[in-house]
Symmetry: C2
Subunit: 163 residues, 2 copies
């Protein structure tokens, strides 16, 4: 075991590492979207659940706007529907835009902000860190569900550990 | 927005907060196990995937032993099967034992250790933080899959946001 001697790293995780961790997850989610046949992405579901397209629109509604809200302190609206014309390409374009938005606004979050108390989307109370963890955990949760959809469709999902 | 003025909290997340975050997730996973009918827990699956019992045995194999390995630096073996006699009660007992083990060994992890490079279970290279995040993310991933199993079985899963 190597011992890290850099005292600035005597912390669980740095903001930069948390960003990279999340973007790694988002990269995997993007590949899960790509793995779906277009029709199944917008129409397939199990047990009365939402389609993966509907879940992804929720994720798009949360990620970019949620981080922008934290960075700017301007209340964000939770919008869980976007124009997509049943085209994955349109969803993927929005996904990539969100990737850039997250990178941009993340740099505006100050390290001392992570324990501030906020109301995400004007209503969900937590700290900055707990809100961001919720965004990430919620994405992992729904993407796990998409893995079942893909398996039920006889499609091999991307490896979970590849980010 | 309240600004936190405690300089010791000028960090993304403290070790104590990460522990509470994970144990909150583990509490939810426990309730998902409870929500399964005994027979379905051990036998139901979709698309050729593992049963939730098999996934939970993987989680049990990772969580307690993984944290003990980080705390003690003694290489752990990855054991993904336990005696259960098709009884959820036996799995839940092991779950609760793991909860205590995690609490116990967590206090032995030093704050400056989180950026050390380790090989979890003697083989998976990463930092202490990235390994622990993997343990948590992997649990969320599989629990999300269990939500689909429950929905397909016409059973309402616990709320994702209740920990």
């Amino acid at each position: 075991m190597e011992t890290n001697t850099n005292t600035t790293l005597q912390t669980v995780i740095t903001p930069e590492e948390l960003l990279a961790h999340w973007q790694g997850h988002r990269n995997l989610t993007r590949r899960v979207i790509e793995a779906f046949p277009e029709d199944d992405f917008f129409n397939y579901s199990i047990g009365g659940m939402r389609t993966f397209a509907e879940m992804v629109m929720e994720l798009l509604g949360i990620a970019g706007p949620g981080i922008k809200e934290i960075a700017t302190a301007e209340t964000a609206q939770l919008i869980e529907n976007v124009e997509h014309n049943n085209k994955k390409a349109q969803i993927l374009e929005l996904w990539d835009k969100a990737t850039k938005d997250i990178d941009t606004y993340w740099t505006q979050i100050k390290p001392e902000q992570f324990h501030d108390t906020i109301k995400s989307f004007g209503q969900y109370e937590g700290t900055v860190w707990s809100s961001i963890f919720y965004f990430i955990d919620n994405e992992i949760h729904h993407r796990g569900q998409a893995y079942v959809y893909l398996r039920a469709l006889n499609i091999e999902p991307p490896f979970f550990y590849e980010r």
